[in-house]
């Protein structure tokens, strides 16, 4: 016969641990932040796949499509692509500097990356202004413009988020947060920035050149 419930005192009778306690970490053998950013980047890949895939399908389905060189300033955007690739390289140089413990060089390279990223955003905003105000190229006009604004707009939003994130990391670094041993936060921001660069490489080819 079981004991009545009144005699059960959880403060005394309940076991402290309901699971085995190990002296090692049972999580994945990678840094949690790094694991999280890769899961996030996986979702971002699917997001841009939806946009780019839909663009390809719509374009394949259209019986004719305007030559992008006749509608867009390809050479200006090619220069902008160059700027974004340079910013990716400076991010790698900055990460290498902090991993060697050289904080001054890190601040210099990282600041350059922020500058290049901001320049990219500025050029894209100028392009939008020229298209919308000067050429009256609105998204409602036709499929070319609607897909153009959706894809470059979402990418531009990601670039702005990346610049803000890198700026926050830069401020934290100047306050002494990061060192040769503690630099995961920098690596995460860098991974996001490289991803934004990678997406742009594909978008530039698909939207501006093809």
């Amino acid at each position: 016969m079981s004991q009545p419930l009144a005699s059960y005192d959880p403060a005394v009778d309940a076991p402290v641990h309901h699971h085995p306690v190990y002296d090692y970490d049972s999580g994945p053998p990678v840094d949690r932040g790094k694991f999280a950013i890769w899961v996030f980047l996986g979702t971002e890949i699917m997001f841009f796949t939806a946009l780019i895939g839909t663009y390809i399908i719509l374009r394949m389905g259209a019986s004719e499509w305007p030559n992008p060189a006749h509608r867009l300033a390809v050479m200006i955007t090619a220069g902008n692509t160059f700027i974004l690739i340079v910013s990716s390289a400076t991010v790698v140089a900055a990460l290498n500097a902090i991993q060697r413990g050289d904080r001054q060089k890190f601040i210099k390279w990282w600041g350059l990356s922020i500058l290049f990223g901001s320049f990219f955003v500025a050029v894209q905003m100028y392009e939008y202004w020229a298209l919308l105000v000067q050429h009256e190229a609105y998204p409602k006009n036709d499929l070319f413009w609607s897909t153009f604004y959706v894809m470059t707009g979402f990418h531009g939003f990601h670039v702005i988020v990346g610049v803000i994130w890198m700026f926050c990391v830069w401020i934290a670094a100047m306050r002494g947060k990061y060192s040769a041993k503690n630099n995961v936060g920098i690596e995460l921001a860098g991974l996001y920035w490289h991803f934004v660069d990678l997406v742009w490489v594909l978008l530039f080819t698909l939207v501006y050149l093809m």
Binding site: G61, A62, N67, V91, L191
Partner: protein
């Protein structure tokens, strides 16, 4: 891998990316001017350049090449999903004749005709470069021949 070696590799990849970008832009400019209609060569060359650049950014700048299977598995699972997405979407939108008309046009189910909707913009399709588009060239040829036959969806192929 020592830091010096990695920095040297990054510099080489950076130069490679710049060269590939330059080649891609020049190839695109030449292709759009001289063989715009030959999509296989134009698109094939451009996509090859883009994928080479993407490969080096993904595997070297993002250090995926040096990561373990946990990180790689987080990303590589998207590849079959991308293929699945494209396969599922293509028969619907890509090959549906109801969608098979030009970019500056839309199908009007009330009149069963395709109409131009490039209003309000300096739409190059309607301003001076019609000869670049076989579809519009065909329309102009019909108009010049005095034909009153209008376009219907799918007639571009």
């Amino acid at each position: 891998m020592s830091d010096n070696h990695e920095t040297f590799s990054v510099f080489k990849i950076f130069i490679l990316l710049l060269i590939m970008t330059a080649i891609e832009v020049v190839y695109g400019e030449i292709g759009n001017r001289y063989f715009y209609e030959q999509k296989f060569w134009l698109w094939g060359g451009l996509l090859l350049c883009a994928f080479i650049k993407g490969y080096y950014i993904f595997f070297y700048f993002m250090h995926v090449k040096y990561e373990g299977m946990i990180v790689k598995g987080n990303v590589l699972f998207t590849v079959p999903l991308i293929i699945y997405f494209m396969i599922m979407l293509t028969p619907d939108t890509g090959t549906n004749p109801q969608f098979n008309y030009g970019v500056a046009q839309q199908f009007d189910p009330m009149t069963n005709e395709v109409e131009h909707i490039g209003h309000g913009s300096r739409n190059v399709v309607n301003h001076g470069v019609r000869h670049l588009y076989p579809y519009l060239r065909e329309q102009d040829a019909k108009a010049n021949a005095g034909s009153a036959e209008d376009t219907v969806p799918g007639s571009g192929h």
